[in-house]
Symmetry: C2
Subunit: 417 residues, 2 copies
């Protein structure tokens, strides 16, 4: 006898049994419907990408330590995509002459990160990606924030359930210029700002002092005209959001978002639950990425929303949608001789859209009813020889333990009522 195989999945990834998958798909269904109402179209790609795609732009830590990268037998270095934005930019660049700009695209890819086991984080998750390519106006930035707001609202979240923090990389750049920082110093400062909430205040101040005499943020009030212009643009942006009913957006000059590729507006959505006021997701404008493929640059703005955080937010706020894919009717079979008739009758019900399973086991009828209850199937009909020759069946509503005699051709109507 060989050693038995283990039944657990590979470390850090999830198995989706039907009820879990149905839950995720019902969430994805609401997301898809919402985005398609706004004219966004779904795209996808393989999780396998050439490793160069990430080496060019993401931070070195990600490529070297946090991706699954390996060499194929042809000597090509392959990476399991850790994020979707580079793939989006690659696809846009690849067909930029044929595609009708502006593009409104979304995707629901699975992404892979090589997390060190002790962190207890997942190595694979799903992430909604929503992007608008080909427009550089504030209206485009506003539409992307509206999409983030629309998705949460579609689940029933109210403005008081979350807050949208807004900032601008343009403003941050101008502030660092004002403070006399080089572009390299500015990048270091922005990385520091990104970690600000995790650092003790003295340590943050000391690190800033190492870069510049004056904290760039101190130029926010009374800075140069170019700082004031960038600031005014944020005010105008917040007004656009207000007009669209997004009254839960605020300016946060310390918000940076990690990625180096952001070039303009950045935003991050936070749960307002006082017990767990954490970051949910975010995004921003990245106008330089498509140009890295040798094409003219295409202004882009978008966001990414992970499934684990979203499901957790929905669960905490009591907003998880119900999933409906289980069968609606269990057709019991009291005698095997009539099975062919039961199968044929089931098909007439399915033709009317009812989800039906037919018992194929030799269990007695009482056990079949128990089986239906255990599976959470709401209705049960025993279908044998007398049902085949008669014109009615007895429909059991299992939750109520009630039974009603119904004409065979009215069963779907009866159940749907």
């Amino acid at each position: 006898m060989p050693e038995p195989l283990a039944t657990d999945p590979y470390k850090g990834v999830r198995d989706f049994y039907p009820s879990e998958w149905a839950r995720l798909q019902s969430v994805f269904g609401i997301i898809r419907t919402t985005l398609e109402l706004y004219g966004y179209e779904e795209y996808n790609a393989s999780p396998l990408e050439r490793a160069e795609l990430y080496e060019a732009k993401t931070s070195e830590e990600i490529v070297n330590e946090q991706t699954y990268t390996f060499e194929d037998r042809g000597g090509r270095r392959v990476t399991l995509r850790p994020e979707m934005t580079p793939t989006f930019a690659r696809m846009v660049a690849g067909k930029r002459r044929e595609l009708p700009f502006p593009l409104r695209w979304y995707s629901l890819p699975n992404l892979f990160r090589y997390e060190r086991p002790q962190r207890g984080r997942l190595r694979e998750h799903y992430q909604l990606n929503v992007d608008l390519a080909g427009l550089s106006s504030l209206h485009a930035d506003a539409e992307i924030v509206r999409m983030a707001h629309a998705v949460l609202s579609a689940f029933g979240a109210k403005n008081q359930d979350f807050i949208i923090r807004i900032n601008s990389r343009t403003l941050l750049t101008k502030l660092t210029e004002e403070a006399g920082l080089s572009s390299e110093g500015a990048r270091a400062y922005i990385r520091l700002l990104d970690k600000k909430s995790k650092l003790p205040p003295e340590e943050f101040r000391a690190s800033v002092s190492g870069l510049t005499k004056t904290d760039p943020l101190s130029f926010l009030e009374g800075g140069s005209p170019s700082v004031q212009e960038a600031k005014a643009s944020i005010d105008q942006f917040l007004l656009l959001l207000q007009e669209a009913g997004i009254t839960n957006a605020v300016f946060d000059p310390t918000l940076t978002r990690g990625f180096d590729y952001y070039t303009g507006m950045v935003f991050e959505v936070f749960d307002t639950n006082p017990e767990n006021p954490r970051s949910l997701f975010g995004g921003g404008r990245y106008d330089g990425l498509v140009g890295m493929f040798g094409a003219e640059s295409v202004p882009c703005v978008g966001f990414g929303m992970g499934d684990v955080t979203l499901l957790d937010f929905l669960e905490t706020h009591g907003l998880l949608p119900e999933a409906h894919t289980a069968p609606e009717l269990y057709l019991g079979t009291p005698d095997e001789g009539a099975l062919a008739h039961a199968l044929a009758y089931a098909d007439t019900l399915r033709a009317q859209g009812l989800r039906v399973i037919v018992n194929l086991t030799s269990k007695p009828l009482g056990e079949q009813i128990k089986d239906a209850v255990r599976r959470g199937i709401p209705y049960f009909i025993a279908y044998g020889g007398s049902e085949e020759s008669g014109s009615t069946v007895r429909v059991k509503t299992l939750a109520k333990s009630s039974e009603e005699e119904v004409p065979k051709d009215s069963v779907v109507e009866h159940i749907r009522r």
Copy 2:
């Protein structure tokens, strides 16, 4: 300037631009609806699996030469799943005490094979997997063949468009016993039979002679009682299928299906198109797989259907469904001052389920109409200050170049009519 990045995907995988993804999703939608009518529930898992899962059961060629297998930083050997059945068996074994048998499950995973580039085959494809676990009767085998038949029929395929070839590993085993082959010899013979159609007849005959004096297939007529019993069981099975309207199933004693794990009924569906009479997909019974996880064994039967072959079959027979995810209405904006009103009006239409995009560019109205036509959006409304203050809008039907004045609150009704 760094070297520009390439825009093509990794070798052998596909990018799915929105129209291609919508086409695939509309096909998957029909598959999902059909299977759920029969009570099948969707599951999924990560494409990352421990390599041991495949080393235990699939043929050596697959593990050593045709999978993506690499070592992670913790020294674990990881494989990108080349097929879904081992994952299915693993998940069933993992929760066999909690799950309500029989299970009716399906999945639409992407699968990976390391194909040598010169073969021109894909390295990633999608494959519908349908499985019924916990029943060993002919009725269960018949249900699985019905599912294969139901999926093709749901697209409008007729019985004359495809043929289902049926065989039984039980019968093949008994025939090889009759011919005096050891179980090792039987495996070699079955592998040979699997390649029969690709070999010159003399070569096949010569190879068989190397294994046994008499070709096991010659015992089909007038064999021992146990051969006759296995043969009678196939006849009974074909009758069950006939009762269910499956008149295009035939017995084919040379059918084997490649995998070693099949233990009973096997089937394969072929296109009957005389210009391209190729194999489409297949499946069979595999009762030993769940037991490899140290659990009591669970009888299973199922099939896998690849997306590339299916799409090709549907296209050849004119059965590809239409995909509908593009926006239905383009809301043109003649003046930027009224944009906020246009955005608000678009939201009232979306609340009624209409897919709407609002122009955010500064293009003149004529260009916006051309843009709508290029995108294949059927309706166009220009919404400016006068539309905001009035009670009607002019709805253009772009395909007919016609225009009609419609009350603002009847636009969705007008378009849906």
